[in-house]
């Protein structure tokens, strides 16, 4: 058995705030292999982004505090690395794309310069990124980086890429800026790509193109991807696997076909029935009452129990463990096995 690309084991994260300590991640387990696209879905405030930020260690400590668990990248625990060691991995082994393409590019620098800087930084740690020896002259390295930047820009589907290297971010549309950010994330040939809501700010037509681009990049670069989104439609279209998060826990995870085709956890079911489909009759949409619980004083036992229509007294007694219900399909619910019968009633 090979070592998985990314393995998060029993990760616990506490956040200090004025009101007390919030238990924002509560035993996250997630394994991502090369070639897999994992979708991380859930409502706002359930810890999706924090999981992503924890992997790239971009969450400042304090206020964050990792109380237990480990994040293994090819077997190496990221939580034990020094900031300098971590900085070497970012952009080089871990690439990130964020939600808003307008605020993540510096408006005062040309696109090309920003890409070249990332390429040069990545090449410092891994000379294989550019076909240029590390001891070459500064000019030669910049030339090589610029050539690479042009290739990457062309690869993410920007027409006339070489000429556009000299453009400023404001000359690009939203979708094209997101492509530039993807190029920037991929330029260091990362093994792991973390995409935090990469298409939320974009139009549906552009969204489809960007998702296609991420899918193809996985094949081209043999990476693993963690795609954070709140849109189950995006997951169904793009991902190979999905983990549904609720209030700091992964409540259901597995291959997309299994989870979307046969959702077991009541929360996953509720999320899916909240999305209008072709068949939904007017006024028949089922929302999910209540809101995500306060994580400073989380509800006892299963955190979803207060909003769950199938909750039993036993649900409040203890946090349910994740149990397998199918081929690598796991659910954290004590009534997982009887759920099918319950829903039919």
């Amino acid at each position: 058995m090979t070592v998985p690309l990314l393995s998060i084991r029993d990760l616990h994260l506490r956040m200090s705030s004025f009101d007390g300590r919030a238990h924002v991640l509560n035993g996250i387990n997630l394994t991502v292999n090369r070639g897999e696209i994992w979708g991380l879905v859930g409502e706002s405030g359930c810890g999706k982004s924090l999981t992503g930020l924890s992997v790239s260690r971009l969450q400042p400590t304090p206020p964050a505090h990792y109380t237990a668990g480990e994040i293994l990248l090819d077997g190496q625990d990221l939580l034990k690395l020094s900031p300098a060691q971590m900085q070497r991995l970012r952009g080089n082994r871990i690439g990130m794309i964020f939600q808003d393409p307008t605020t993540n590019l510096n408006p005062a620098f040309r696109i090309g310069e920003q890409l070249v800087d990332v390429a040069l930084a990545a090449a410092q740690h891994d000379p294989a990124v550019m076909d240029c020896p590390p001891n070459a002259s500064r000019h030669a390295r910049r030339q090589a980086a610029r050539k690479l930047a042009g290739e990457m820009l062309a690869r993410v589907g920007i027409p006339n890429a070489l000429a556009r290297l000299d453009d400023y971010p404001h000359q690009f549309s939203g979708g094209m800026r997101q492509r530039v950010l993807i190029a920037m994330a991929l330029i260091g040939r990362p093994d792991l790509l973390i995409a935090d809501e990469p298409t939320t700010a974009l139009d549906v037509s552009v969204q489809a193109q960007i998702l296609e681009l991420i899918k193809n990049s996985v094949k081209d670069f043999d990476m693993g991807v963690v795609l954070i989104t709140h849109n189950l439609g995006v997951v169904a279209q793009t991902c190979s696997h999905v983990a549904v998060m609720y209030a700091g826990n992964i409540v259901e995870s597995g291959p997309v076909a299994a989870v979307i085709g046969n959702p077991v956890h009541p929360y996953t079911r509720a999320l899916m029935s909240a999305i209008p489909t072709r068949e939904t009759k007017r006024g028949a949409l089922r929302g999910l009452a209540g809101s995500v619980p306060n994580l400073i004083v989380p509800p006892p036992g299963c955190r979803f129990a207060p909003r769950c229509q199938f909750a039993l007294p036993a649900c409040v007694a203890a946090m349910p463990a994740s149990v397998p219900v199918g081929d690598s399909h796991a659910v954290a619910c004590i009534r997982a096995t009887e759920m099918e019968a319950l829903v039919d009633d």
Partner: protein
């Protein structure tokens, strides 16, 4: 023959080019000969990508922008020909709910102040006393599924879904017949979005409102609207019954938009395709 609530007739809007310190900008044709009509009591969806002119059209309906040519009529009254006082009276009947409930509520006003502000502004038209306003505020809140205990709180105490309910209550305060909904659910989580959509359905059935629903989310439009128009680069590409457009789109643009819509269903190929 059903009554026409809103009629947009051949409206164009051109923003003139400007000379600034970075050179001259081109003039922008934000709307090109847009014509559509909304019947009383129906939900009309306007779908388009960003920059397609949705917002310009919405602002024109409220007469916050003056169209370069063409006319907009609300229940037969041409907005361009009304005096300021007539326009103010008309605006009591046309209200809007904005996209972002975090930005559209004044953080320093209590819910009571927010909800009764339209009653004060449209005092001439509505003529309510202070006492009546208080009653109306409580009534409005219960209409959107909140209670009188929320009246004296401030926006920061509410979640996104509750804030959007407050925005809807404010829009309903002056008793409008036409409600413009500018992406009212795109800033909300799906579970909350479902609640707000259900509330909108319920309010329409109860109050007989006409909705002009602007969105880029086709699934939501298909769920809520009776008829829909697709707008691209300031031009109406296709309009018609919702079912007809979603099942048999005629234009290339409609096919592209519907094809790009992410549906929650198991992909045809198995998950391990990568």
């Amino acid at each position: 023959m059903t009554e026409i609530m809103l009629e947009i007739d051949n409206v164009s809007k051109i923003y003139p080019g400007r000379r600034g310190i970075f050179g001259t900008s081109q003039e922008v044709h934000a709307l090109k000969n847009v014509s559509l009509s909304v019947r009383k009591g129906e939900s009309f969806g306007l779908v388009g990508e960003s920059g397609s002119g949705k917002t310009t059209l919405t602002r024109s309906i409220l007469h916050l922008e003056t169209p370069t040519s063409g006319s907009i009529r609300v229940q037969g009254q041409d907005l361009g020909k009304l005096s300021d006082a007539e326009l103010r009276r008309l605006r009591a009947r046309v209200q809007i709910v904005f996209q972002d409930p975090y930005a559209s509520l004044n953080p320093r006003m209590s819910v009571y102040d927010i909800v009764t502000e339209p009653l004060v502004i449209h005092h001439e038209t509505l003529g309510l006393t202070n006492r009546q306003r208080s009653d109306r505020a409580a009534e409005l809140l219960s209409l959107v599924g909140m209670g009188p205990q929320h009246l004296h709180r401030y926006p920061h105490e509410f979640s996104g879904g509750q804030r959007q309910r407050i925005c809807i209550a404010r829009a309903l305060a002056s008793g409008p017949e036409l409600l413009l909904l500018d992406e009212p659910t795109s800033a909300l989580d799906v579970s909350v979005q479902a609640q707000v959509l259900n509330l909108l359905c319920e309010l329409q059935d109860r109050l007989g409102l006409t909705y002009f629903f602007i969105s880029h989310d086709l699934a939501v439009v298909r769920y809520l609207c009776d008829r829909v128009a697709l707008i691209n680069r300031g031009e109406i590409v296709e309009q018609g019954d919702c079912a007809q457009i979603f099942d048999a789109p005629k234009s290339e643009y409609a096919r592209m938009l519907i094809g790009a819509m992410p549906e929650v269903k198991v992909p045809a190929r198995t998950g391990s395709n990568t």
